[in-house]
């Protein structure tokens, strides 16, 4: 044992045995120097594998495997519903961030209408592309919920929730619930008549939970009737808590699909 550092794989001796030209020698020295520090070989291999994989033939789909060609191709969209809801989520996130530039969650006591309502009116009437922006956000949300529902049905009817994938099924249930909470909190934000009375239903639902009902109503709705604090809380849930939680869960959900592979289409 000596304190002097040794070249583990004796690159030097290997280079000397190769009888390299000057250019080659310098090149190889540089390459080795970089590779030792940055592990270039890993990244290069990654890129090259990607290149070769792109050129792979597509795998036989279940329709080909079971000799059902030309009959079942129209099932494919059902297998894309998960991706589709993710994409709708991204569309909703982008349009929602843009809407957030103009929206204010104020339900102050006013004779005619609240700050939130006035801001929605501003977005719809005065803001360039505001009407479309709100429309896009709403439709992306609606479509996401619908896609998530159908995604769950597809997973159920193809038995994709079975043995190694139970955990993802459970995460999926949490996600579909949170999606609906997302929708509900968003539904309340315009603070129009529908929103106010949907808020009333929500308050009553949480009040009817045994033992902790009043506590839950206070925590989520800031009171026992819809009030300015309710709107404020719905807003913070909608733009702060839920985005972080749902995005993280979606990442885990997709990560697990990635690790386990798609449940063989069948």
């Amino acid at each position: 044992m000596s304190l002097e550092r040794k070249d583990d794989h004796d690159h030097k001796a290997w280079m000397e045995s190769r009888d390299l030209s000057r250019i080659e020698g310098v090149y190889l020295m540089t390459l080795m120097w970089l590779d030792k520090r940055l592990r270039i070989v890993d990244y290069l291999e990654l890129l090259e594998d990607l290149y070769y994989k792109v050129n792979l033939q597509m795998p036989k789909s279940h329709t080909e495997q079971y000799g059902l060609d030309n009959k079942f191709w129209y099932w494919y969209p059902l297998y894309a519903l998960g991706s589709f809801s993710t994409l709708a989520y991204i569309v909703a996130a982008i349009s929602g961030a843009l809407l957030g530039f103009y929206y204010t969650p104020g339900a102050g006591v006013s004779e005619t209408s609240s700050m939130a309502y006035q801001q929605i009116e501003f977005i719809m009437v005065d803001l360039n592309f505001g009407f479309f922006l709100r429309s896009l956000h709403r439709w992306a949300a609606q479509v996401m919920v619908a896609a998530v529902f159908l995604h769950m049905l597809r997973v159920y009817f193809t038995g994709a929730y079975k043995e190694p994938r139970e955990l993802n099924w459970l995460i999926g249930i949490v996600l579909i619930s949170l999606t609906m909470v997302f929708g509900y909190t968003g539904y309340l934000l315009p603070w129009d008549q529908l929103a106010f009375w949907a808020g009333q239903i929500g308050v009553e639902m949480s009040l009817s939970i045994p033992l902790i009902g009043e506590w839950v109503a206070q925590l989520m709705f800031g009171g026992f009737t819809p009030n300015p604090a309710t709107l404020q809380r719905m807003y913070i849930l909608h733009v702060f808590f839920l985005p972080f939680i749902v995005t993280a869960l979606i990442a885990i959900h997709i990560g697990i699909v990635w690790m386990q592979g798609i449940a063989e289409p069948h």
Partner: protein, 257 residues
């Protein structure tokens, strides 16, 4: 392609025929193969990488880490490429919907005036309908006709029961059957569930439906069973044909007496 796969292609396939993934030259080339196709500095690069990989390989073999196979259909790139095509089309649809059917906004919130129709968004109708199940809340004779839970508590509990029932499905239904035909019972349960979601949503808007309220309540629970039974019967008879196809060779070898 090896000879083995060629011979099996001509035969009738049953379940478990493999993934069917066929690379053009059988497999991704190794570093040595890539090296053989190069000259000059690229070749030198690959010579070094080949060496470096072999060293990694040695290290890996010395360690106790075990690489495991994961059975499934690769998410990348196979599934993703197919999905991208379909999904970008549907994203176009979202934008088209948003442009053609923009939402409008109702009158501002007014706590002193209750609207005639109070409804959440459509996807919460089922949950809203479960809140209206008070008519099922039993009056217990023991308690002198009183109810254990208030009607609205009953509704919230019903929501939890539904979510819980969905959550335990993978722990009840085990085995490798995938298609509904292979498991008629679970197929029927699924269809009954979907129909129940629709009928309970109908129940939540019962005051808007041109049907007798009592009849709506009965249909809410009757229809899922009806559709469930029909599905069960259909799938069960389909399964006979399906299993016959799977076992055709068996029948051919040993025809029934």
């Amino acid at each position: 392609m090896t000879e083995e796969t060629d011979t099996t292609d001509t035969e009738e396939r049953t379940d478990g025929g493999g993934t069917g993934i066929v690379p053009p030259d059988d497999e991704t080339p190794t570093w040595s193969e890539r090296k053989a196709r190069k000259e000059g500095l690229p070749r030198l690069t690959y010579e070094y990488f080949e060496r470096s990989r072999r060293e990694d390989q040695d290290l890996r073999q010395q360690s106790s880490y075990v690489e495991r196979d994961v059975l499934g259909f690769p998410a990348w790139p196979h599934e993703m490429i197919r999905n991208l095509a379909i999904v970008s089309f549907f994203t176009g649809l979202i934008i088209m919907l948003a442009a053609t059917l923009p939402p409008h906004i109702g009158p501002p919130a007014n706590p002193s005036q209750t609207p005639e129709v109070i409804l959440p968004d459509w996807y919460l109708y089922w949950s809203f309908g479960l809140l209206k199940l008070g008519f099922l809340n039993p009056d217990l004779a023991l308690l002198g006709g009183e109810q254990i839970m208030a009607d609205r508590t009953y509704g919230v509990v019903a929501n939890l029961v539904i979510v819980g029932a969905i959550a335990v499905v993978p722990f009840l239904n085990k085995g490798s059957a995938r298609r509904p035909v292979e498991q008629p019972f679970w197929g029927a349960v699924g269809v009954a569930g979907v129909v129940f979601a629709a009928t309970i949503a109908g129940l939540s808007v019962k005051n808007l439906l041109p049907i007798n309220a009592k009849l709506t309540q009965d249909l809410t629970f009757l229809l899922p069973f009806v559709f469930g039974f029909i599905t069960y019967a259909v799938l069960k008879s389909m399964r006979e044909g399906y299993m016959f196809n799977l076992n055709r060779r068996y029948y051919r070898l040993r025809p029934p007496k």
